[in-house]
C-alpha cells in the first residue's frame, strides 16, 4: 500500500496525460475545459506528493522493479517543485493562448508527459531507467517547443534543440555502455560499490563513461560549454513552454545529477575540479551573454545559464557535512518561483502574438499597471539575489556551502557574478519605473495569470522567511 503511495504522483501524471489525450478527441471539451483539467491534474499530483512521507530511502516495489526507483525526501521535494512548475506553466498557458494562436488540445497532454518523465528522472537509481526517463521528458519537450509548425521561429528552435538533444542522448547512451563495461552493472549502488572497491581512476572505461554521462547532463542543464543552444531555443518556444523548460527541466536534471554524484564520494571527488572551473565559466559566460540582450526572453535564457553556474557551485560543495541537497533544492525552488513568476506575468503582458518582448516595450509599465510592475520587480530582485527575497537566501546557502567545502574562491566569484547580473535585472526595473509609458498595455481580460503572478510574488517572500525545503 505504501509503495503505491510513493509512485502515485507518477502514476497520476502519466494517467492524466493519457486521459487528456483521450478527452481531446471529443468535441465537447474546448480550450478552457482542458486548461482547467490540466491544472487540476497538476494540483492533484502535487497534493499527493505532499502527503507522502518519504523519510529514509524507499525502494517502491523492489522485487518488481528490481530497485530501479528510489524515493526519499530529496526526490519528494524535487517532485514538488516540478509539479508546481507544471501547474504554473499550465496556468500561464491558459492565459497565453487567449491572445496567441497555435493551440492544440494535446498541449496539456504533452506538459503532463514531460512532468511524468521528470518525476521519474528524480527517482531513478539505475542507468537504463534514467535514459528512458530522460527521453520521455525530452520528446515531450521537443513537441511542446515546435508543435506550431507554421511558425518559422518555432521550427528553428525545435530543429536546434532536437539535433543537439539527440547528440546529448547519444553521448549518454555511449557513456552508460562504457560505465556498464567498466563496472558490470547499471545500478547506481553497484557502480558505487565498484568504485569504492577499486577506485575511480583505476578503470578507463568508467572514467570515460562517466564523463560522457556528465556531458549529456551539462547539455540539458545548459552549462558552459554546452550552453549555446539555450538562447535560441528559449526565444523560439512559446512563453509557457519556455517557463516550463527553464524551471522544471533544470530541476529534474539537477536532481538526477546530485543523485548520481552522491553515489560515492570518490566519483564526486573525481569531478570536483572539473565542475569547479565549469561553474565559474558558466556564470561568467552567462552574464556576458545576458548583458548584450535586448529581448527579455533571450535575457532570461542567458540568466538561466548564470543560475546553472550557481547550482554547479552547490554541486561542488555537495556532500560537506552541513550542506547537502537542501541548498540545491532551495535554490531551485527560489529560482523556479521567480522565473515562473516572470513568465506568467509576461504571458499576459506580452499581448497578442507576443508583441511585447523587448526591454523597451515595457517602458513605463509601473504607471499603467503598478501591481504587475511591482511583482515583476520582486521577481527580478529575487533573481539578482537582493535581500530579503528567496533568491538571496538561495545564494546565501550556496555560498555558505562553498565556504564550507573550502572553496572560498568560488564563493567570492559567485558574489562578483551576482553583482554583474544586476546590470540586466535592474535594466528592466529602470525601464518599467523611471520611464514614461507610451502605450496602454491592453491585455485579454478574465484570465488566471494575474492571480498566479501575485501568488508567486508572495511565494518569493514566503519561502525566504519559512525555508521549509531546507
Amino acid at each position: 500500500m505504501f509503495d503505491v503511495m510513493v509512485i502515485l504522483p507518477l502514476a497520476a501524471t502519466g494517467a492524466g496525460a493519457i486521459l487528456i489525450m483521450l478527452v481531446a478527441a471529443f468535441e465537447t471539451f474546448r480550450r478552457e475545459g482542458i486548461s482547467i483539467l490540466g491544472m487540476g491534474l497538476f494540483a492533484f499530483a502535487f497534493f499527493i506528493q505532499l502527503t507522502v512521507d518519504n523519510s529514509g530511502d524507499i525502494y517502491p516495489f523492489a522485487e518488481v522493479f528490481n530497485g530501479m526507483l528510489v524515493a526519499n525526501t530529496f526526490t519528494k521535494v524535487a517532485g514538488l517543485i516540478i509539479l508546481a512548475c507544471g501547474f504554473f506553466s499550465a496556468l500561464a498557458a491558459q492565459t497565453y493562448f487567449t491572445q496567441n494562436k497555435g493551440f492544440v488540445l494535446e498541449f496539456y497532454c504533452m506538459l503532463l508527459f514531460a512532468a511524468f518523465g521528470m518525476l521519474l528522472l528524480t527517482m531513478v537509481a539505475e542507468l537504463i531507467t534514467l535514459f528512458i526517463a530522460l527521453e520521455i521528458m525530452s520528446l515531450a519537450v521537443y513537441t511542446l517547443v515546435g508543435y506550431d509548425r507554421h511558425s518559422v521561429v518555432r521550427a528553428e528552435a525545435v530543429l536546434k534543440y532536437l539535433m543537439l538533444g539527440a547528440f546529448a542522448g547519444a553521448f549518454y547512451v555511449m557513456g552508460a555502455v562504457l560505465v556498464y563495461a567498466g563496472t558490470g552493472s547499471t545500478s547506481f549502488a553497484a557502480i558505487g560499490a565498484v568504485v569504492a572497491d577499486s577506485g575511480y581512476l583505476s578503470n578507463p572505461a568508467l572514467v570515460g563513461g562517466s564523463f560522457l554521462i556528465l556531458f549529456a547532463f551539462l547539455f540539458k542543464a545548459a552549462a558552459f560549454p554546452f550552453h549555446a543552444w539555450v538562447i535560441d531555443v528559449y526565444d523560439g518556444a512559446p512563453l509557457p513552454v519556455t517557463a516550463f523548460m527553464a524551471t522544471a527541466v533544470k530541476t529534474s536534471i539537477f536532481a538526477v545529477l546530485a543523485n548520481f554524484l552522491l553515489i560515492n564520494p570518490e566519483v564526486h571527488q573525481g569531478w570536483v575540479t572539473f565542475l569547479f572551473y565549469l561553474s565559474i565559466l558558466t556564470m561568467f559566460a552567462g552574464n556576458l551573454i545576458a548583458i548584450g540582450q535586448q529581448n527579455l526572453k533571450r535575457m532570461l535564457a542567458a540568466s538561466g545559464i548564470v543560475h546553472t553556474g550557481y547550482l554547479l557551485i552547490a554541486l561542488v560543495a555537495l556532500g560537506s557535512e552541513r550542506f547537502s541537497g537542501g541548498a540545491i533544492l532551495f535554490y531551485l525552488a527560489a529560482y523556479g518561483v521567480a522565473t515562473l513568476g516572470l513568465f506568467v506575468a509576461l504571458s499576459y503582458l506580452s499581448g497578442q502574438d507576443e508583441r511585447r518582448v523587448s526591454f523597451d516595450d515595457f517602458r513605463g509599465l509601473a504607471k499603467v499597471r503598478p501591481y504587475s510592475a511591482a511583482c515583476i520587480a520582486i521577481f527580478l530582485l529575487s533573481m539578482a539575489g537582493i535581500p530579503p527575497t528567496a533568491g538571496f537566501m538561495g545564494k546565501f546557502y550556496i555560498i555558505a556551502g562553498a565556504f564550507q567545502a573550502g572553496h572560498a574562491v568560488l564563493a567570492v566569484l559567485g558574489i562578483v557574478s551576482s553583482i554583474l547580473s544586476l546590470w540586466y535585472y535592474l535594466r528592466l526595473i529602470i525601464v518599467m519605473y523611471f520611464r514614461e509609458p507610451e502605450q496602454r498595455f491592453e491585455v485579454a481580460e478574465l484570465t488566471l495569470a494575474p492571480l498566479g503572478t501575485i501568488v508567486l510574488a508572495v511565494c518569493v517572500f514566503a519561502i525566504s522567511f519559512y525555508p521549509v525545503v531546507l
Binding site: I386, P387, I430, P467
Partner: protein, 507 residues
C-alpha cells in the same frame, strides 16, 4: 547569551520594527492621496512615541544589550531573529524613529504623484533602518542592510530630479558592491564561531592576524562607502542632489550613520588587532575627507550639493572620532552622528522648502529671500551655525569632544583637523550671507511667502534638539557612557593581551 538581557514583557523592539511594515500593508488598499499621507503620518508618529518608551525603560548602568528578543528563524543554519539595543545604538534608534514623522511632513506637498507608493517606500525604509540598528544576528543585519537599498533606490529614481536615473543606479550599485564582500566576511566569521551568527559571540575572539586584516578590509569597504569616507564619496552628492527632500533627509540623517555604526559595532570589537593596525591610515583618510569636503563645499553653487559635501566633511569628523579609540573621541563621534542627523536633516528640509517656492536649488536664485521669509531664515541661521559648530549649538559639543580626543592622541593630527572647522564656517557663512542678505540684482521675489504652520512644526523640533544638545548634552552622553566604557575596556584588555603575545619578538 549573558550580553543579552531578554525582555519578558511587551516586545517593544519588534513593535518598532514591524509597525511601519504593517502600516505599509495598510496603505495598499487605500485610495486617495490625503488618506495615505495621514495614515503614514499616524504610523510614523506612533513609532516615534513608542520609541520614547524605549528611552524610559533603558538601563544606563549596564553595557549589555537590552530589550532583547530571540526567536529561531532558520534552524538548519542556526540563524535567529535576535534584537537588542545598547548605549551605542539607542540614540540612533531614537533618532530614526523621531525623524521619520518629519520626513512624512516634509513630503506633504512636495510629493504630488504616486503618493501611496512613496509613503510605502518611506515606511519600508523605516522598518529596515530600525532593524539594522537593533539586529544582533548577522544574517538579519545583512538582510535588512541590503533591503534598505530598494526603497531608497525607488525614492531617488521615481521622485528625483533631472538626473535621477544616473543618481539612483550609482547609489544602488556603489553601496551594493561595497557590502557584498561583507557577506563573505560574515560567512567566514560564522564558521570560525562554531556556526553561530550571533554578533556578540563574534566579538573579542582571537582570530589570526591575516584573517583579521581581510575581514577588516571587507568591513571597511562596506562601511566606508556607506559613510561615505573620502575617496568613496562620489555617489553621495549625486544621490543627495537628485533625491526628493525626504530622501535627502533620510540619506543624510540615518543612512550615513549606518556606516559609522557599523565601524563601532563590528570593526572595533570583532577585529580589534586589525583596527589597531589600520587606525593611522583611517585617521588620515578622515582628515582628507574633512579638508576635501570643506574645500569642495566652498565652491558649490547648488545648495544641496553644498550640504552634501559638507556631510563628507562632518562624517570625516565622526570617523576620526571613532578611530581615535579613546573615550572623548568615541563619545564625541556618537554624539556627532546624532548632531549631524539633526542639523543636516534640518538643512535639507530648509533647502526643500526653498525649492518648493522657487523651483531652483541654485544659491544665486535664492539670494536675498531673507527679506521676504524672516521666520525661515531664522531657522536656517540656527541650523547653519550648528552645522559648523558654533558654541551653544550641538555641533560645537560634538566637534569639541572629537578634537579634544584628537589632541590627546596626537597633536599633529589635531592641527590637521582644525582647518576643517574653519572651512565649515567659511562655506556655511557664505551660504547664509547669500540667502539672507543676498544680491539686489535678483529677480523680484516679493511673491514668496514665509513658512506655513506645517513647515514650522516640521522645523521646530530640530531646533529644539540643536539647542538642547548644545546647552545640556549630559543626558545624551549618559545614555552611551557605559557601553563606550565597556567597549574601550575590552579593547584595552585585548590590546594588552596581543602585546604580551608578541613581546618576545621585540629586542
Amino acid at each position: 547569551m549573558d550580553q543579552l538581557l531578554l525582555n519578558p514583557g511587551f516586545p517593544l523592539l519588534s513593535a518598532l520594527i514591524f509597525l511601519p511594515l504593517a502600516g505599509a500593508l495598510l496603505l495598499l488598499p487605500l485610495r486617495g492621496d490625503g488618506a495615505c499621507r495621514s495614515v503614514s503620518l499616524a504610523v510614523t508618529a506612533l513609532v516615534g512615541l513608542l520609541s520614547l518608551l524605549l528611552l524610559a525603560g533603558f538601563d544606563r548602568s549596564t553595557a549589555a544589550f537590552q530589550f532583547g528578543e530571540t526567536h529561531p528563524w532558520i534552524a538548519a543554519l542556526s540563524i535567529n531573529y535576535t534584537v537588542g539595543v545598547d548605549g551605542i545604538s539607542i540614540l540612533l534608534v531614537l533618532m530614526t524613529a523621531l525623524i521619520m514623522p518629519f520626513c512624512v511632513l516634509a513630503s506633504w506637498s512636495y510629493i504630488k504623484v504616486r503618493v501611496k507608493t512613496f509613503m510605502i517606500c518611506l515606511l519600508v525604509m523605516e522598518t529596515a533602518m530600525i532593524g539594522v540598528f537593533v539586529a544582533l544576528d548577522f544574517v538579519l543585519f545583512y538582510v535588512l542592510w541590503e533591503a534598505m537599498l530598494i526603497p531608497m533606490y525607488l525614492i531617488i529614481g521615481i521622485w528625483g530630479g533631472p538626473r535621477k536615473i544616473y543618481a539612483s543606479i550609482k547609489f544602488f550599485l556603489y553601496t551594493l558592491a561595497g557590502s557584498i564582500l561583507l557577506l563573505v566576511a560574515i560567512i567566514w566569521l560564522y564558521r570560525q564561531n562554531g556556526y553561530s551568527f550571533y554578533i556578540p559571540d563574534m566579538m573579542w575572539q582571537s582570530y589570526g592576524s591575516t584573517a583579521q586584516i581581510l575581514v577588516f578590509l571587507a568591513f571597511f569597504l562596506a562601511f566606508a562607502i556607506k559613510v561615505p569616507m573620502f575617496p568613496f564619496h562620489t555617489w553621495l552628492p549625486a544621490a543627495h542632489v537628485e533625491a526628493p527632500t525626504a530622501g535627502s533627509v533620510i540619506l543624510a540623517s540615518i543612512l550615513l550613520k549606518m556606516g559609522t555604526y557599523g565601524f563601532l559595532r563590528f570593526a572595533l570589537p570583532i577585529v580589534p588587532d586589525a583596527t589597531f593596525l589600520m587606525m593611522p591610515y583611517v585617521l588620515w583618510l578622515s582628515i582628507a575627507g574633512i579638508i576635501y569636503g570643506g574645500f569642495t563645499a566652498l565652491a558649490q553653487q547648488d545648495m544641496k550639493k553644498l550640504i552634501a559635501y559638507s556631510s563628507v566633511g562632518h562624517m570625516g569628523f565622526v570617523t576620526l572620532g571613532i578611530f581615535l579609540l579613546n573615550k572623548q573621541g568615541i563619545e564625541g563621534a556618537i554624539l556627532q552622528m546624532v548632531n549631524h542627523g539633526v542639523t543636516t536633516g534640518a538643512l535639507f528640509l530648509c533647502v526643500g522648502m526653498i525649492y518648493e517656492r522657487t523651483h531652483s536649488r541654485e544659491l544665486s536664485s535664492a539670494a536675498g529671500i531673507g527679506t521676504y521669509m524672516p521666520v525661515f531664515v531664522t531657522f536656517l541661521a540656527f541650523f547653519s551655525l550648528a552645522s559648523f559648530g558654533f558654541p551653544g549649538t550641538n555641533g560645537f559639543i560634538g566637534e569639541f569632544m572629537i578634537l579634544a580626543g584628537t589632541f590627546q592622541y596626537d597633536i599633529v593630527l589635531a592641527l590637521a583637523a582644525i582647518p576643517g572647522a574653519v572651512l565649515a564656517a567659511a562655506y556655511m557663512l557664505r551660504m547664509l550671507q547669500k540667502i539672507i542678505w543676498g544680491g539686489t540684482d535678483n529677480p523680484d521675489q516679493s511673491w514668496i511667502s514665509d513658512l506655513n504652520r506645517r513647515e514650522i512644526v516640521t522645523l521646530a523640533p530640530f531646533l529644539l534638539f540643536v539647542l538642547w544638545i548644545g546647552l545640556g548634552p549630559a543626558p545624551f552622553i549618559a545614555l552611551m557612557d557605559e557601553s563606550v566604557s565597556a567597549l574601550l575596556t575590552n579593547l584595552q584588555a585585548h590590546q594588552a593581551e596581543t602585546l604580551s603575545a608578541v613581546s618576545w619578538l621585540r629586542p
